[in-house]
């Protein structure tokens, strides 16, 4: 297996981008990443694209062909593969790209992630999100994606491992960082009262516990580590990338306040990178609902059960706190959550942090950074660790 480097990164603005189509967004992110890697385009020999549901969002299946065509790869007959894994589509696409380069099957691979959500009405969008859980035995029985997360939160509060305020503070932390990210959907810090008083979505969670509906795309370029210098001086190493599965339905698990797939993927990732959780200085975690951030910090080994919420509430997850910085991009909550793009956008942010190009949200002296991307109710999780060179 060859070692792999991220040599280029690109991301569009995230938000309600009425004037931009799916293809326009995908091209913009891809071109930015290629420009960042100093590529002409002729070096690329493979593409992987994370996308949840273009079929339902924009009535376009076969987006692998669409992306290949509109990025100029179709005339060269470069293979493109679309990857779907619920909310982890981007993270799994990244892992596929890393495996393709590591194995020697490909040399220069573009990994993209994109979602165009706002062409559809809110009720239909929510129904697509609900179908990333168990459609027949959760969604059809009345459980929404929000209410499944809400039942995790309810259980945490009951078991005494997090308070409502601690759960809400995950959104406060993400908004705090979103204010520093020019590409974020919400560039505004909010006080905890705003989260606590926001309209109920599924009790105890409200509108401000919820990632928004977003359009956007992100892209990274990969090549063998030994070739990285041919293209750029500003690259990072992929220290490891791991993926784990769990049951489709939340109710099939003995413990719902922890994602076993996050625990399993992170253990594999730490072992492969030869490090422990204590070596991570910056992490992007999947706060699709605020409560997901609490679980992530505990399942990734940054904090013991019952401690993550306190760290969030006390501001110990800020980029300048000195302890592990969480969601410096604004996370899913403030950066935005164009579903297929999210896992790739997390890699873009961690690469920025390790390259020292994160501007006024730069974490100091970070050697290792981590991205955790979750599909459905923790049914698929990727944990990727990048290393500064």
């Amino acid at each position: 297996m060859r070692e792999v480097a991220v040599i280029g990164i690109g991301v569009t603005k995230f938000g309600e981008l009425w004037n931009k189509s799916f293809r326009a967004l995908g091209i913009e992110a891809g071109m930015k990443a290629m420009e960042d890697a100093n590529l002409s385009g002729s070096e690329i020999d493979g593409m992987f694209i994370g996308n949840l549901s273009a079929g339902r969002f924009i009535n376009q299946q076969h987006i692998d062909a669409l992306v290949a065509d509109y990025t100029g790869m179709a005339s060269k007959h470069i293979p493109a593969t679309r990857v779907e894994a619920g909310g982890a589509s981007g993270g799994v696409a990244f892992r596929q790209g890393v495996m393709a380069v590591a194995s020697g099957m490909h040399d220069v691979v573009v990994v993209g992630g994109a979602e165009k959500m706002t062409d559809l009405d809110d009720a239909s969008i929510n129904s697509i999100m609900d179908s990333t859980a168990d459609s027949e035995w959760e969604a059809e029985m009345g459980a929404t994606f929000a209410s499944l997360h809400a039942m995790i939160a309810q259980r945490m509060i009951y078991e005494g491992t997090a308070t409502r305020e601690e759960i809400a503070s995950v959104a406060v932390n993400s908004h705090f960082h979103g204010a520093f990210n020019p590409n974020a959907q919400f560039k505004k810090a909010v006080p905890i009262e705003t989260v606590l008083k926001s309209g109920p979505v599924a009790t105890p969670l409200g509108m401000f516990d919820t990632a928004p509906i977003s359009d956007g795309a992100a892209s990274v370029v990969l090549c063998p580590l030994e070739d990285a210098k041919k293209y750029t001086d500003n690259f990072v190493k992929v220290a490891s990338v791991a993926q784990a599965s769990d049951t489709l339905a939340l109710f099939q698990r003995p413990d719902i306040t922890s994602y076993g797939a996050t625990v399993a993927a992170s253990q594999k990732a730490y072992e492969a990178a030869g490090i422990t959780a204590a070596d991570i200085k910056v992490a992007e975690v999947h706060d699709v609902y605020s409560v997901g951030g609490i679980m992530a910090l505990q399942d990734l080994g940054f904090y013991k059960k019952g401690e993550a919420g306190k760290a969030m509430l006390e501001g110990r997850c800020h980029f300048d706190s000195g302890s592990v910085a969480i969601n410096t991009s604004g996370g899913l909550k403030a950066r935005g959550h164009p579903i297929g793009a999210t896992g790739v956008a997390q890699i873009v942010e961690i690469a920025h942090q390790l390259r020292g190009t994160a501007d006024n949200r730069q974490v100091k002296d970070a050697k290792y950074g981590l991205a955790q991307n979750v599909g459905g109710m923790g049914s698929a999780v990727t944990v990727s660790i990048l290393e500064a060179i």
Binding site: G142, T144, P200, P204, L250
Partner: protein, 134 residues
């Protein structure tokens, strides 16, 4: 809109909480599975019919304020994870209850109710919901 067959073939589970029990290790599964994920090949052909106990306790719950189109007329409503008295977890609506009376540990029992309809001319889905078991 979904097809009639998709609903029809799930009727034993939806109406009667019919699941399966592994003849190899004894573990119960709801909804029904054709083999046991623990025993895998050793369970093939050994899965037995099993009717899940219709009483249990609320394990967790949420009041749903934003619902998909199919359940829009019912909102707000309570959704709960119920642990049945034979230790099977089921996610379903909790009805005929005041929202502020719902709590973890509350005894409940399964009833057959209308779940949703596919518009004016589509099929009507029925299945289990839970009510307080007082």
């Amino acid at each position: 809109m979904s097809g009639v067959a998709r609903e029809w073939r799930e009727i034993p589970g939806r109406y009667n909480l019919k699941g399966t029990k592994c003849g190899n290790c004894g573990k119960v599964y709801f909804p029904a599975r054709s083999f046991c994920p623990e025993c895998r090949r050793a369970s093939m052909g050994k899965m037995e019919e099993y009717y899940v106990c219709r009483t249990g306790k609320v394990f967790s719950f949420s009041v749903v304020h934003e619902a998909p189109e199919a359940n829009n007329l019912q909102k707000p409503y309570v959704v709960a994870m119920v642990k049945t008295d034979d230790n099977v977890m089921i996610t379903a609506q909790l009805v005929d209850v005041e929202f502020d009376k719902v709590e973890i540990g509350m005894p409940v029992r399964a009833v057959l109710r209308k779940l949703s309809t596919d518009g004016e001319s589509g099929i009507i889905r029925y299945g289990y919901k839970f009510v307080p078991n007082l």
